[in-house]
Symmetry: C2
Subunit: 371 residues, 2 copies
């Protein structure tokens, strides 16, 4: 976060900075979605939607699940939220009593810890490594689960590692959570951004899983603040009560835009192909510079690299290359503590020219190190 | 809430329902704001704003405070949130530790209690009546304040009563909160919707007050989900951390629209005059039907009426008139417990024709009662 601020400061001062630290698509929202938003603007509907969302969007998402994953979800189970961020606020508020805990992977998406804490719960960090493709496994869940544990979170594909959980592991993780009396929470916000294989929806394996997703990444709609969460029947009422109180509703116009987004398949494919080109370039270039990519990432727009051959202090290294060669990447410590000083995250949500420039700058800067 | 659902059900079945239960402007967003949103849509900026908001909006709001209230607020103290609902989530998360308490008026805006509970705090209901224009007073605050109390909330003009706090009382309430070591939180979302006098901003009296406001009511922008909170310097960092984590940011397009809204003065005046006409009509008609209006409301779009001459059970009465004559109003119990069974809230955020129809229906229905 501070590093991002410093990067912007340097930029404002005239430096050209290569932004490989940002977790946001560099693409604008697809034109067909913008068109739909223009039409919605002219409709005069600027009112609150029902707190659970515009029913037309709930239905469109239900259809989407049938077509994309072959799973049947009734629209009432699909709750529309202000971003997936809103979905997390919501489910933890509905799910957790003070002192109860939720299992998270370390490394993982850093905001999770804070969502859980704000709901009065306790985030439990579970160290994960290449053995489990940086994901929670059934064994780890058994090991860390306690009496007050309510859920385990899988981010698939993962931020920061870009790795997918295996189908088998996902199925077993779901079964384990259920057997232990809790929920699997599957953060599927990077679905659709996968390269060479398809991410499976947790609902394909367990109808009781809580699935969180949103329009920010695959559809390049971060600023619209639209996400959703699919909850089991038994949680709908509790969630509805929370939503009425804390959000009132998600943005109305964004919900109309989201309906159109679900049809913007070609635009999504165009963006996906662009990410994949960048990914393949970096997967080749980075190891030559000393960044070890232990598990090939096949999703999201992240590469998680081991930097132990280059430094024993990833954080200082990131600051150093920002100040000296204007390349911004994120130190492992932003995602947890487990082996954090030995890792960094590259984001390739930035244009190919900048990525090439970043690699060239790193090559020059690292020469003396590898020499 | 259930009553609102039933009203919609009856409507779907073909009944004409008079909606005087809804707390949302019946006007669409002003055309000049829609125009600005069209332009912003075409700009290609669909990205996250900084978590504290688009700096141009922060600056425009700072200017607004100078012009509207003559108070100087630096833009960094103005945090842009997803609705004022977001502002409340934010400040309670930043302000309250588990078990700490916040003073609220009873009757008052019902979501407040839940925001505080979700942050692990304890809402303390302070019964208020006509003596204090249904507002907290310095005396009441002293009486209810305890060692773990962090703040007292004033909603001015008030939901559900439509009454303004007096300038003197506001000044003294602010001074009392400060003397007791806590904050005044002033919910000013109904500012600009006042009739015959102007609501004062808490910052005119106390630079340390926390002021919450938003575009939903005065600007008829509920569906855009844009609010703001002005915090003292000492809270900025804590709030920023919360915002980065729980919202990421408020909707980007809505923030552009909000900048334009601040210039839509004529549209706001047009809506205000329409509300005022309805208000004056109801203030005359309702007492003749047996609804006692103890304090003349001069703000928002609500009238809080004592129904003790008609019924000793306001809730059953509301259901009765909904089912029998298709008029929807809100029972006192939705806003607290203090003398709740003897009160109802009328909202005049609905067209004059419907309001006249509602009054005619009530007159007919109540004939036998008053005869
Ligand atoms: C794994 C993961 N989940 C959720 C989010 C939140 O995104 P949003 O609130 O924009 O939907 C992000 C954003 O970076 C993310 O990386
Ligand atoms: C007193 C008061 N505060 C806050 C709100 C929340 O409004 P929003 O989240 O749309 O800004 C409302 C809405 O009814 C209200 O009446």
């Amino acid at each position: 976060m501070q590093l991002l601020e410093r990067a912007k400061q340097l930029e404002a001062a005239g430096r050209r900075i290569v932004h490989m630290e940002i977790g946001e698509p560099d693409f604008s929202t697809p034109a067909s979605v913008i068109d739909a938003a223009h039409a919605a603007l002219d409709s005069g509907d600027s009112f609150y939607t029902p707190s659970t969302g515009n029913p037309a969007l709930q239905q469109a998402i239900a259809r989407w699940y049938r077509e994309e994953y072959g799973v049947d979800v009734s629209p009432e189970r699909i709750l529309i939220t202000p971003g997936t961020s809103g979905a997390f606020s919501l489910i933890y508020a509905a799910l957790i009593e003070a002192g109860e805990s939720v299992l998270l992977s370390d490394p993982g998406y850093p905001c999770q810890r804070n969502f859980i804490r704000l709901a009065g719960g306790e985030p439990v960090s579970v160290p994960v490594g290449p053995e489990t493709l940086y994901h929670l496994s059934p064994g780890l869940i058994e090991q860390y689960w306690q009496s007050g544990t309510r859920a385990a979170v899988v981010i698939n594909p993962s931020n920061p590692t870009g790795t997918l959980i295996s189908d088998d592991a996902l199925q077993q993780v779901a079964a384990t959570c259920r057997r232990l009396g809790g929920y699997l929470i599957s953060d599927e916000i990077y679905h659709g951004l996968t390269y060479g294989l398809k991410a499976r929806c947790a609902l394909e394996f367990d109808d009781n899983a809580i699935v969180v997703n949103g329009f920010s990444k695959r559809w390049a709609m971060t600023g619209w603040r639209i996400g959703w969460v699919i909850v089991p029947e038994e949680l709908i009422d509790a969630c509805r009560r929370v939503m009425q109180n804390i959000f009132i509703a998600a943005p109305t116009l964004s919900q109309y835009a989201a309906i159109a987004a679900l049809r913007a398949t070609d635009d999504c494919e165009r963006m996906r192909l662009a990410y994949d080109e960048r990914r393949r370039y970096l997967l080749e270039a980075l190891p030559e510079l000393g960044f070890d990519i232990v598990v090939q990432p096949q999703g999201a727009f992240y590469i998680y690299a081991n930097v132990e051959r280059i430094t024993d202090d990833a954080k200082s290294f990131c600051w150093e290359i920002l100040e000296n060669v204007g390349v911004a990447i994120t130190p492992g410590e932003d995602f947890g503590t487990y082996r954090a000083a030995g890792h960094v995250r590259f984001s390739y949500a930035t244009g190919m020219d900048d990525i090439r420039l970043g690699v060239a700058r790193l090559r020059e800067w690292l020469q003396p190190v590898s020499a």
